[in-house]
């Protein structure tokens, strides 16, 4: 791998331990995947912010980097933490709050924007064809497939290293020739709702590995439905990106078809129970767009959340601020519009939540192990019907 004089100096430790460690991670990764150089990136987005999923050991790693003057060189945003400061923060023990706040302090010290969202693209849309180093697998697939930006699915630490160096190794989907689709997926049945898009992602992720599909036959797509599809694809696969409803350039391409029965089965398997009496109904994985919040506000109008049930809508501070009246509507119905956090990396067990209902395939996949909940996977309208009365 070719390094510039300046990069070599960083590699040799002339710019301190933090820069050297990050450079070594990038070079090691680049050499393994046959990159010939490092390329500048427009932004980095970091996963591994929640104390719940990080635990203590990686925090020491972050502290060491921050103490050694690790500083981001480019715009670098953060994934959600493990609670929202207002509603849930107050219900959690002091030591948990303190450990989480310490993580945020380390990131702040290194210069990260405290975005605390898995949808950094709602804060600032990356330019088309721009190179990024994003972790958060759902955002990676969305950036490549919906926004036309270029990023590999970075592990948390390599996105962190890229933020500090301001560059990423030039391999994988940073190269035009490696962004070409190599499998054609024929989806024969039209979808009715977002859960079917999510289920398709879960089903395909298991089959595709790291292949790049063209998915044919998707109807009634919206950016939000593609967000669900991408999040789910990256949950069960190593998938970086997908194309939909375009024709392949070459004739000879592997083909598979997905039957309605496959999707039906996947949806059934994503629920661990058919008993629908959730402690929590959760919408917002990945974080809601303004449009999704508007839709939820309309559906809650004139209704009330049932006693004994929590209703959480998760989004970024940025989107919540713009959604003023919609937020008021949802909260007057008894729901909570929570920011900075993600339910699957939050302390639901500590809060006594044992059953969860969601329209997100990614959440439904992870919740049984990460949250130890019984889980029901159902479309938005059904979720709201369950949680609301009147």
């Amino acid at each position: 791998m070719y390094l510039t004089k300046e990069e070599e100096r960083i590699y040799d430790g002339e710019h301190g331990w933090a820069n050297q460690t990050c450079m070594k991670i990038l070079v090691r990764l680049g050499e393994l995947f046959n990159a010939t150089k490092l390329i500048p990136i427009e932004s980095a987005h970091i996963s591994g912010v929640s104390y719940k999923t990080l635990g203590d050991a990686p925090v020491e790693f972050l502290e060491t980097l921050a103490d050694a003057d690790g500083k981001v060189r480019i715009r670098a945003t953060l994934n959600p933490q493990s609670f929202d400061p207002e509603y849930l923060g107050k219900r959690l023990p002091e030591h948990i709050r303190e450990k989480q706040l310490n993580i945020l302090r380390q990131f702040k010290k290194m210069g990260f924007t405290q975005s605390l969202t898995c949808t950094p693209y709602y804060l600032e849309k990356p330019k088309q064809n721009s190179h990024l180093a994003w972790a958060e697998s759902s955002a990676v697939v969305y950036a490549n497939s919906v926004l036309g930006a270029w990023t590999n699915r970075e592990g948390g630490p390599s996105a962190l290293a890229a933020a500090i160096i301001g560059k990423t190794p030039d391999y994988g989907v940073h190269k035009a020739e490696d962004r070409k689709p190599n499998i054609l997926v024929d989806m024969e049945t039209p979808f009715q709702n977002e859960t079917e898009f999510g289920a398709l992602g879960i089903y395909l992720g298991k089959i595709l590995g790291d292949k790049i599909p063209i998915i044919l036959g998707l109807k009634d797509t919206s950016e939000e439905k593609l967000k669900q599809l991408g999040a789910a694809l990256a949950t069960t696969g190593m998938v970086n990106m997908f194309y939909h409803n375009i024709r392949p350039e070459r004739e000879r391409i592997e083909k598979i078809s997905v039957e309605a029965e496959d999707i039906k089965q996947t949806i059934e398997n994503l629920s661990t129970t058919s008993k629908i009496k959730p402690d929590l109904v959760f919408i917002g994985c990945p974080h809601c767009s303004l449009d999704e919040i508007r839709q939820i506000a309309q559906l809650t109008d004139g209704k009330k959340v049932k006693a004994g049930t929590e209703f959480w809508v998760c989004t970024s501070r940025h989107v919540k601020k713009r959604a003023g009246d919609y937020v008021k509507q949802i909260e007057s119905s008894g729901g909570h519009v929570l920011t900075d956090m993600c339910t699957i990396v939050s302390w639901t067990e500590t809060l006594g939540i044992k059953t969860l209902m969601t329209n997100s395939a990614k959440t439904a996949y992870y919740a049984p192990t990460l949250n130890k909940t019984e889980t029901v996977f159902a479309p938005l309208k059904q979720c709201l019907k369950e949680v609301l009365k009147g």
């Binding site: 991670i25 996963s47 990080l54 990686p58 790693f61 697998s137 592990g155 630490p157 790291d210 192990t369």
Partner: protein, 142 residues
């Protein structure tokens, strides 16, 4: 018994000899592995309930959450990480985890050749795996 040698690509250098734990399914370290016990907890996984501590963990590739790298790091700090990781295809998320956790790792290996409980020697400098002792039921197939 004839000794089987498999050649792959060295990813993180190191050497060890240990029992193999082999899966036919991809692994997500976040959500898939309990970070306090090192046990596989992903439901319906073929290694569900198995502990990865001190094993040569062989699986096709990683999947899912990019926080998986940090989970590997945590497992290593708590001494409940695998002794080595052997993959068919390296997932960048697993690679970065193995780098910062300093877990020997090799990819481009046909893991179907290895069976759970085989004693294997991993040379992750050369990218070579030797199967030293075949498990009883495995031996009958040779």
């Amino acid at each position: 018994m004839q000794q089987i040698t498999l050649k792959g690509r060295a990813i993180v250098e190191g050497r060890c000899k240990a029992q193999a734990l082999v899966s036919t399914q991809p692994i997500s370290f976040l959500g898939g592995v309990d970070p306090t016990s090192g046990k596989i907890v992903e439901k319906n996984h073929d290694l569900h309930g198995e502990c990865i501590k001190d094993k040569v963990l062989c699986f096709p590739h990683g999947h899912g959450s990019t926080v998986g790298s940090y989970v590997l790091y945590s497992l290593a700090k708590k001494n409940i990480a695998p002794k080595a990781i052997v993959n068919q295809t390296a997932d960048p998320v697993v690679v970065v985890g193995a780098i910062i956790a300093d877990i020997p790792m090799i990819d481009q290996i046909d893991i179907n050749q290895i069976r759970t409980d085989d004693i294997v020697e991993v040379d992750a400098y050369a990218g070579v795996i030797k199967i030293l002792t075949k498990r009883e039921s495995g031996a009958s197939c040779i």
